[in-house]
């Protein structure tokens, strides 16, 4: 056995999230980060889904409720705007659809294999709330 110092690790005892040095991760957006192959960002849970959320930007008011309540960091928001959905990491829990406040909703669940254009074409009309 090799005698390690107090600040050395056995091989495999430590995983690095990034390749190389990262200066300030809290201000670096995901697309600019040098993710290593050990970061779960490089993996996918897309096969967990039975239904997928589809985003219709025509009705979105950029309230960001979906962004804050998404458990899987799958709502991509840039410059205070909702941009789209990260289908590699979305597990299809539908919280984003539930918290969407617009009428009609700007996020809805559709079958996983459904085409996105088809889903957008069949988007429901504005609902008149009964008084």
């Amino acid at each position: 056995m090799i005698d390690n110092g107090w600040d050395e690790f056995e091989i495999g005892a430590m995983l690095r999230s990034f390749d190389g040095a990262v200066k300030d991760i809290a201000t670096t957006l995901q697309e600019d980060r040098p993710y290593s192959k050990n970061n779960s960002f490089t993996a996918s849970v897309a096969d967990w889904r039975i239904e997928k959320p589809v985003f219709n930007k025509d009705y979105c008011i950029d309230c960001q409720f979906c962004w804050i309540y998404c458990p899987d960091i799958s709502i991509i928001s840039r410059d205070k705007k909702m941009v789209g959905i990260d289908y590699d990491h979305c597990k299809g829990c539908a919280i984003c659809v539930e918290v969407c406040p617009t009428n009609p909703k700007s996020l809805l669940m559709f079958e996983e294999k459904m085409d996105e254009d088809e889903a957008l074409a069949g988007w429901p009309e504005k609902e008149n709330k009964e008084k």
Partner: protein, 318 residues
Amino acid sequence: MSEMKKIKNLKEFSTSADRFEGANLLCPGCAHSIIVREILNATNDDLILSASTGCLEVCTAVYPYTSWDASWIHIGFENGSTAVAGAEAMYKALKRKGRLKQPDREPKFVSFAGDGASYDIGFQWISGCFERGHNIMHVVLDNEVYANTGGQRSSSTPIGSSTTTAPAGRVSYGEKQNKKDMLAIMAAHGAPYVAQVAPNKWKDMIKKIQHGFAVEGPVFINAMSACTTEWKFLPEDTIAISDLATDSLVFPLYEIIDGTKLNITYRPKNVIPVKDYLGAQGRFKHLFKPENKHVLDEWQKRVDEKWEYLQRREEAGV
């Protein structure tokens, strides 16, 4: 002292770059990652984190993957808090000796643990950290059950809940003991800041977390984490259930400063009956049988009494 991140509204908050990654193995609709995201995004400082054994630990560190973009220690069931406290002690020692490589950066020390690892198994360790006064934050992801191992009761499990070790059936209405008042216990340690938070009230949560980061000394945060698997509701209802919990005052949101001064931070406009909250979850469905009506009544009575107590404490300011 590093500067506090300014978060005025949700749009501004949404420009944060997450330091918690997707493709972790938490259940779809799990509130754990919502809470973790809100806490990590509340600061731009470097983070030193740990997680005690529980859902969060086993789901975010499945070899060869890690879901954390910060220094994160994978450690035992009981000693997540002491691992972070040790790191904090080392930081202080190196700082005193002037041997820090980046002396201008002040990291924040946070340990995450489930209710099992905080209320039961890690209690002695947490108590020790608070007694020694380390500058750390301990966050409990309180889902009121040992969800990772299949839903055994913990001392956080509330009365009437059906768990695998306290199942409801012909002779029993489930869990007999009521939830331990952990906040009062931690406040009694004389901790500078103790608070209860819920992920659906994100603004209240960010405010409390930032206050917790700003104070010197140990901080205890009890975060309600609705568990879709063990509380038995649909994954998309996580936020709806959390709303029910805070609006029915089952989880009142309050803080205790310096072990004495209690502030209620959220007063629902319309307080809803406790049975609306209980009825939305599968773990309480047996309580709606006629023979278990006394448990429902007791629930409402306990919640009312607790709310009354909190208001008296707030008024008295002691």
